[in-house]
């Protein structure tokens, strides 16, 4: 299957000038490696869609058959990563409250403009999960924002399980938690019963051995999750939910990442103590009113979590201009005191680490996928354009060929 996907991708990528099988060298004015220091006058050697070498231009030997992309007046950085989103799918919240067996793979809409725009903004990996409204909401898929079909877009199918501690309308928190515990307990009981049945090795009348009992496919996902083989993405709208998530993960021994609501900064120390990684809400900076003192308080979540020592990724949404872009979220963090390198990492390497996929992408390092963004200037400058996006070694976005951008940049109508 993987070979088929790979072959299909090669065909798609071939349309963009070269394929992932080519040897490519990107010459860059500046390389923001993210994992190490920036490299002025650098070059990146790409083979088979992966980074083979990165360094000063004079240190990189350019093979005779290499295709060279001259970005010597540009800045090259790893693609931005969206570590949690529910966009790009048709209705992300299943109405039934416990559906671990469903997957966004079946809901992803490859022609959703969200993917096209993600690419335009230099996002090269997206984790598309079910929404916040379903208790055990199903599995998410890691995608590349390029391809004609969901198969072509998929990097990792069913990468994690989404859970939500947000009670449904009319339900109390205690009832919600009781329902989650019951799901877990019933699953553990089922697994125990299954083991016992296997051990019994039932023999039919007549002395013939029967095949061992198989697991109900509806239960497989949950079994993987409680067996520690599938990570949970647990949405915690309130700080109290963070503590409940920690309690649940300890009792039922599952691995998890937290997708936090904005008030959850109050639980930052508890999160740090457990060494948990979080995905911040898109509204990372918000005002509160101190009613008694008539004072407006600005809460800056990335700064609070950074100072607490928590590794975080940033979400984007489409509610306002700035929050729809990863680079702008990083710039906002810098504006409010987060070190620049941490801000850029949180949208790249740290996001990859939150996804447990940092061995594949998130920085410009040997062995990683060549997911690169070619920028006309500094990554956090509003004046900078994404000039090209390279996905697994192939150019999949070119600004001068972006028809939508061309249209909104027209000076007059009717042209």
């Amino acid at each position: 299957m993987r070979i088929v996907i790979g072959a299909a991708l090669s065909v798609i990528l071939a349309q963009a000038g070269w394929t992932r099988d080519d040897v490519v060298v990107v010459k860059a004015g500046r390389i923001v490696t993210v994992s190490g220091p920036d490299i002025e006058g650098g070059a990146i050697l790409i083979k088979g869609g992966k980074i083979e070498a990165v360094g000063k231009e004079k240190e990189i030997e350019i093979p005779w058959d290499a295709k060279v992309l001259d970005a010597s007046k540009m800045v090259v950085m790893p693609g931005w990563i969206e570590a949690h989103t529910s966009r790009g799918v048709d209705r992300p919240n299943e109405q039934v409250q416990s559906v671990p067996f469903v997957s966004t793979f079946d809901s992803i809409n490859p022609v959703d403009p969200y993917f096209e725009d993600a690419l335009r903004q230099g996002v090269t990996s997206l984790f598309v999960l079910p929404g916040h409204q379903t208790m055990i909401g199903g599995q998410g898929c890691v995608l590349r924002p390029h391809g004609l079909t969901t198969e072509q877009m998929t990097v990792v199918k069913n990468h994690a399980l989404k859970l939500s501690l947000q009670p449904r309308g009319g339900m109390s928190r205690m009832a919600h938690l009781a329902a989650i515990r019951r799901e877990f307990d019933e699953m553990l009981q089922y697994l125990q019963d299954l083991e016992e049945k296997k051990r019994e090795v039932p023999t039919a009348a007549g002395g013939q051995k029967q095949p061992p009992p198989e697991m109900d496919i509806k239960k497989e996902t949950m079994a993987r999750f409680l067996g520690g083989k599938l990570t949970g993405y647990v949405y915690c709208p309130e700080p109290a939910d963070v503590l409940k998530a920690i309690e649940l993960s300890k009792k039922y021994k599952f691995r998890m990442k937290l997708v936090v609501g904005r008030e959850c900064w109050k639980a930052a120390d508890a999160i740090a103590k457990e060494k948990l990684e979080v995905v911040l809400p898109a509204e990372m900076v918000y005002w509160e009113t101190d009613e008694e003192k008539h004072q407006e308080i600005l809460r800056v979540l990335p700064a609070i979590f950074h100072k607490a020592g928590v590794k975080f990724a940033m979400q984007t949404d489409s509610s306002s201009l700035g929050t729809s872009y990863q680079w702008y979220q990083a710039a906002t963090a810098v504006k409010h005191g987060v070190p620049r390198d941490v801000a850029i990492k949180s949208g790249t390497l740290h996001a990859a680490e939150v996804l447990d996929l940092a061995d594949r992408f998130g920085s410009i390092e040997k062995g990683k996928l060549a997911n690169l963004v070619v920028l006309t200037g500094d990554p956090l400058d509003a004046q900078t354009w994404v000039d090209r996006v390279i996905l697994e070694g192939a150019v999949v976005y070119e600004r001068e060929k972006d028809e939508k951008l061309e249209r909104v940049m027209e000076l007059k109508a009717g042209k």
């Binding site: 407006e296 306002s320 509003a382 909104v408």
Partner: protein
Amino acid sequence: MRALALLAGVLALHSSVDGQASEGGPRGDVIAVKAGRVITVSGEEIKDGVILIEDGKITKVGAGLEIPAGAQIIDASAQVVMPGIVDGSTDLGVEGSSNEETDEIVPHVRILDSLNLRQPALQRALQGGVTTAYVGPGNRSVIGGLGSVVKTSGRSLQEAVVREDVALKAAMGSGPSWGNFPPRGMPPTSFYARRPTTRMGVVWEFRKAFFEARAYKEEAPARKDPAREVLVKALERKVPVRVAASRAGDIETAVRLADEFGLAISIEEAQEAYRHAELLAKKRVAVFLRPTYQTSTLYGAEGSEVRFTTFTALLAAGVPTALLAQTGVEGEGALAMAAFAVKYGATRAQALRAITLTPAELLGVAERVGSLEAGKDADLLFLSGDPLDVTSRIERVMVGGKVAAGRKIVEH
């Protein structure tokens, strides 16, 4: 009383300054701001500039100015100083709805009567750099009432109001008709049977109101009608009409109505104004543009087709254009809009002017705010870096020579 004393204490604390020129006796009313860079907006940028302030007004701006003995010195040598932002269209501080919906024509209602200066939104806007704002009625009535210009820092209306009743609000498009029902099965005067229900109905209500106002003016009755008095002022061009219109057709309609009744109009929202740049220039209609700079969509308010180049197209045609921040977005919305405007083709000077001096001029308050010039209010923003750099932060806001109090930023 004690609360007042405490407040005064806090204000005094926040207004405290960094130093005092050594010679002479203290002159508390003279402040000298030493800035790493001064963006005056009206003139050239000044490196290592000095801004002299007396009684809340700017007296001098320049490089190497002599600092009067005893003046309080604010050392902003590591900062960039620019004039406070003037937001050309907001509903800041409006308690409840900004739409009076009992009638589709309510020219005599005044937004000032709905203003609550303790609304958090005003304080947030102030900390985001908006020192002056036009506050006006919303888009739900054909003619929605009078808007005013206020300082976001004011503690009393008297202190806050810069200019009262600067514009009469009108709206084209679907705003006034959306969700309305014909009076079927109800008495025609029913509150629930709100009219109009279509775009043509909106235009008719507008025309009817001004026909009647014209007749009223000719009649000159002894008993005054407050609503028609306002419309007569509009007919006499004493009050400009601010028309909310997003789509090209609605903008054209607004211009046609202005011609019909001899009104002085400006267009607000104006996402499709690029289609009528020449017309607007010819008719001397100014624009308060609320741009849509999101690359995820080609469509803006009312299904308008957006162009990122609308701002530059309007300027190129000679249309005075102010940039508006996004509605409902707190913080440095206007600065972000200016940064994006530059990305999409505007010059630095054009973009910065469009959020300060241009709206001040269009609102008729440029003798007081909008730029750093002698004689104007000392409304200053102190930034950590260039205002068009989205990583720069506003570190201090001064209004009328006083550092705005009440801010607390928690990052740890």
